[in-house]
Amino acid sequence: DTAVSQTPKYLVTQMGNDKSIKCEQNLGHDTMYWYKQDSKKFLKIMFSYNNKELIINETVPNRFSPKSPDKAHLNLHINSLELGDSAVYFCASSQAPGNQPQHFGDGTRLSIL
């Protein structure tokens, strides 16, 4: 009965590969997010969707493409992975956009070899 679940928890892959991370929330929230947390633990917003519509698109390489098939799911596809993509990626959700409390998944630890 996990509120925000993301898979996989660990992802180790070679540079240049394409990979996807999936996220699902069962809280009935309208808004979902992808964050990147670097080695210094700084948490930076990448994307946000509200009711399947993209509302926040930060300056990230266009190798990163989010997709929201419905408001309970937000996936992240990454093309041509680079060493600098190594980080922990967190999915989160909130009832609405804006300054709302967010519920986070446990993260996907991506390591690029």
């Binding site: 925000v4 210094k40 633990k41 700084f42 948490l43 930076k44 917003i45 946000s48 509302i55 926040i56 967190f90 989160a92 956009p97 804006g98 300054n99 709302q100 409390p101 967010q102 519920h103 986070f104 998944g105 446990d106 993260g107």
Partner: protein, 111 residues
């Protein structure tokens, strides 16, 4: 420069001590949240402060929102090893849409 500056960045104390961590900005925020993140997990919401000057208590944790809604503090009384973690403040600027996170304070409480 971080929009939300947290201090100290790192704090190591003995069990039973008191501590305060700070979250400061030059911008006004409509509200601020405090989260705690433990290793291998995502951040977990502790509290939201909304009104300038507001004080909220959560057991041994006391949260305060500055009168001008530009800063916040978290005070822990009689810290315990279970308080160990990364404490993050976050908020959206007044009239803004995007939640911004501070860089966090890493707290280690020794038994």
């Amino acid at each position: 420069t971080q929009l939300l500056e947290q201090s100290p960045q790192f704090l190591s104390i003995q069990e039973g001590e008191n501590l305060t961590v700070y979250c400061n900005s030059s911008s006004v925020f409509s509200s601020l949240q405090w989260y705690r993140q433990e290793p291998g997990e995502g951040p977990v919401l502790l509290v939201t402060v909304v009104t300038g000057g507001e004080v909220k208590k959560l057991k041994r944790l006391t949260f305060q929102f500055g009168d001008a809604r530009k800063d916040s503090s978290l005070h822990i009384t009689a810290a315990q090893p279970g308080d160990t973690g990364l404490y993050l403040c976050a908020g959206a600027r007044a009239g803004g849409f995007k939640t911004i996170f501070g860089a966090g304070t890493r707290l280690f409480v020794k038994a």
